[in-house]
C-alpha cells in the first residue's frame, strides 16, 4: 500500500511546471460540475477528458492510474446496487418486501439514479486524481499560505507530512524484521506484532520529531516554517485549455441534463 504515494508521481509528472492555481481550478471545477450533474453523461465526459490529460499530458503510467480506480470502482458498484434496491420508483421491474419496514425493488428511476451516482463517483475520482497526480503537496502548502490559512495549521500539516514518511520507512523496516521472525504467523501473534510495531514506531517517530524541533530551534525557529517555493506564472496556453475545458463541461452539464440510460 505504501510502496508509492501519488505524491511521488506528482513530483515528476509532465504538468509539474504548470501554475498550481490552474491545476486546482481544473480539478475543483470538475468536482463541482460532477456534483451538479443530473445526467450520467457529463461526469463520464469529464472523466474521459481528465483521464486523457493525466495519461497524455501528465505522462502518468496507465497501469498505475487504472490501479487507483480498482477499489473505488468496486465500492461504487456495490453501493449503487444498494441505492438501486432501496430508492424505489414508479415503473417497477422487480420487487421484494422482506420486512414491513424494508422494501427492495428495481425500477426504471432507481437504475437511472444509481447509474448517475456511479458516474459521479468515477468523474469525481478522476478529478481528484488529476489534482493528486499533478500537484505536489509542497505546492499546495504554498497555496494554503497564500489563501491565509492559519500558520499553525500549515506548520502542523508540514510536520505531519514529514512524519508520514518517517513512519512509513520505520513501518517497512520493522514489519520486514518481524515477518522474518515469524511475527505474523498466527492471528494472536499478528495482533501482538502489530501493536509492538506501532508502539516502537510511535516512540521512534516522537524522538525524530523532537530532534527536528531541537535542530530547528538551533537555527532560530520562531514558530513559523520557512516555505520555499516559486509561484509559476500563468501561461496563455494552459489558461486557454482550462477555460475551454470548464466551459465545454458546463455546456455538457446543461445540455445533457435530462439524459437517462434507460
Amino acid at each position: 500500500m505504501f510502496e508509492e504515494f501519488l505524491e511521488d508521481i506528482a513530483q515528476k509528472n509532465g504538468l509539474r511546471g504548470v501554475n498550481t492555481y490552474l491545476k486546482l481550478a481544473t480539478g475543483l471545477g470538475a468536482i463541482i460540475l460532477c456534483l451538479l450533474s443530473t445526467s450520467y453523461f457529463s461526469p463520464l465526459f469529464i472523466a474521459l477528458i481528465l483521464t486523457g490529460s493525466i495519461l497524455v499530458l501528465a505522462r502518468v503510467d496507465a497501469k498505475t492510474y487504472a490501479g487507483l480506480f480498482i477499489v473505488p470502482f468496486w465500492f461504487a458498484l456495490f453501493s449503487v446496487a444498494g441505492i438501486i434496491l432501496v430508492s424505489g420508483g414508479q415503473e417497477v421491474f422487480w420487487r421484494w418486501d422482506p420486512f414491513s419496514w424494508l422494501s427492495l425493488s428495481i425500477t426504471r428511476e432507481s437504475i437511472n439514479f444509481g447509474f448517475l451516482v456511479f458516474c459521479r463517483v468515477m468523474g469525481g475520482m478522476s478529478a481528484m486524481c488529476f489534482i493528486a497526480l499533478t500537484t505536489p503537496m509542497t505546492d499546495i502548502f504554498i497555496v494554503l499560505r497564500q489563501c491565509r490559512i492559519p500558520e499553525v495549521v500549515i506548520d502542523l500539516a508540514m510536520i505531519i507530512y514529514r512524519t508520514i514518511f518517517i513512519i512509513v520507512d520505520q513501518v517497512k523496516q520493522i514489519y520486514n524484521a518481524q515477518v522474518m521472525r515469524l511475527g505474523y504467523s498466527t492471528f494472536l501473534e499478528s495482533i501482538h506484532s502489530f501493536a509492538s510495531m506501532c508502539g516502537a514506531v510511535f516512540i521512534a517517530s516522537w524522538d525524530a520529531g523532537e530532534d527536528l524541533i531541537r535542530a530547528m530551534n538551533a537555527r532560530c525557529y520562531d514558530g513559523k516554517f520557512a516555505l520555499l517555493g516559486e509561484t509559476r506564472p500563468v501561461e496563455y496556453l494552459p489558461l486557454f485549455a482550462v477555460m475551454v475545458f470548464l466551459s465545454l463541461s458546463s455546456l455538457v452539464v446543461i445540455l445533457s441534463k435530462d439524459m437517462t440510460i434507460i
Binding site: 500500500m1 505504501f2 504515494f5 501519488l6 505524491e7 480539478g27 468536482i31 463541482i32 460532477c34 456534483l35 461526469p43 477499489v71 473505488p72 468496486w74 465500492f75 461504487a76 456495490f78 453501493s79 449503487v80 446496487a81 444498494g82 441505492i83 432501496v86 424505489g88 419496514w101 424494508l102 422494501s103 425493488s105 463517483v121 469525481g124 481528484m128 489534482i131 493528486a132 500537484t135 503537496m137 492559519p150 499553525v152 495549521v153 502542523l156 510536520i159 505531519i160 512524519t163 508520514i164 518517517i166 513512519i167 512509513v168 495482533i191 502489530f194 501493536a195 509492538s196 506501532c198 508502539g199 514506531v201 510511535f202 516512540i203 517517530s205 516522537w206 520529531g209 524541533i213 514558530g223
Partner: protein
C-alpha cells in the same frame, strides 16, 4: 471509514462542511493555545497525525460506497482532546485524498464530521469518565479507542442514510441497512483497534512513560501503579 469523492449529493457535502467548520475553527483556537504554552507538543501532534494516517489507510472493502479501516483517532482524542483531534484529522483526511486517492475533497466535510469530530468526542467522553476511576488504564484506552472507532462508523452510516433514504421506511430503514452492513466488518475491527492501541500504551508505559505524564493523559500514580502491576 471514508465516503468516496462524488458519492454524496452537493447539498449534503455543503451541509457537512457547514457543520465541520465551526468545530475546526475552535480546534485551531485550542491548537494555538496549546502550542503557545508548550511548543514541544508539535512533534507529538505530528506523530499522532502520521499515526492516524497510517492506521486509517489500512482499508478493507465494505459494500456501501465506503470502506472499513481502523481510525486511530482515539489516540489523538485521549492525548489532545477532541477539538485539536478535529484539526489533525482534517489534515490527515486531506493528505489521504491527495496521497492515496482515499476519501475525497467535496466529501471532506462529511468525513471530518464522522472521523474527526463525532468519533473522537465519544472516545474522549469515555476516557474522561474512566481516567480517574479504579478502572484499569488499559481497559480505559481499549474502550475509548474502540468506541471512538465504532461511533465513526455509526455517523458515516447516518450520513449515507440521510443522503439516500429508502423509499419505504425512509432514513430509518436506510440507516439500519447501512449499519447492518458495517457492523459485520467494523465491530471486529473496532475491537482489534482497541486491543492494539491498549498494547501500544503498554509499550509506551514500559519504555517511555514520561510522554504520558508530560501530556497529563494519566496521573503519575496511576502510571506507576500500572507499571508495578506489570
Amino acid at each position: 471509514m471514508h465516503i468516496m469523492e462524488g458519492f454524496l449529493p452537493w447539498q449534503w457535502c455543503l451541509l457537512w462542511w457547514i457543520v465541520a467548520l465551526p468545530c475546526l475553527i475552535f480546534g485551531i483556537y485550542r491548537l494555538k493555545k496549546v502550542l503557545g504554552t508548550d511548543p514541544e507538543a508539535l512533534p507529538l501532534l505530528g506523530v499522532t497525525g502520521g499515526f492516524i494516517f497510517i492506521l486509517s489507510s489500512l482499508k478493507l472493502p465494505s459494500v456501501t460506497g465506503s470502506c472499513s479501516h481502523p481510525t486511530g483517532t482515539g489516540l489523538s482524542a485521549v492525548s489532545f482532546g477532541p477539538w485539536i483531534t478535529a484539526v489533525v484529522c482534517a489534515i490527515v483526511l486531506l493528505f489521504q485524498s491527495l496521497f492515496l486517492a482515499h476519501g475525497g475533497l467535496s466529501v471532506l466535510g462529511a468525513n471530518i464530521v464522522s472521523m474527526g469530530i463525532v468519533g473522537p468526542f465519544f472516545g474522549y467522553a469515555i476516557y474522561q469518565a474512566l481516567r480517574n476511576t479504579s478502572v484499569n488504564l488499559y481497559i480505559t484506552v481499549f474502550l475509548a479507542t474502540a468506541l471512538s472507532d465504532m461511533f465513526t462508523y455509526v455517523t458515516t452510516s447516518l450520513e449515507l442514510a440521510l443522503a439516500y433514504p429508502a423509499e419505504i421506511g425512509g432514513i430509518g430503514s436506510s440507516f439500519i441497512l447501512f449499519m447492518g452492513i458495517f457492523a459485520v466488518t467494523q465491530v471486529p475491527l473496532a475491537i482489534v483497534e482497541g486491543i492494539v492501541l491498549a498494547l501500544v500504551f503498554k509499550y509506551i508505559i514500559t519504555l517511555k512513560p514520561d510522554i504520558l505524564i508530560r501530556l497529563k493523559i494519566f496521573s503519575e500514580e496511576k502510571i506507576n501503579a500500572t507499571r508495578s502491576d506489570a
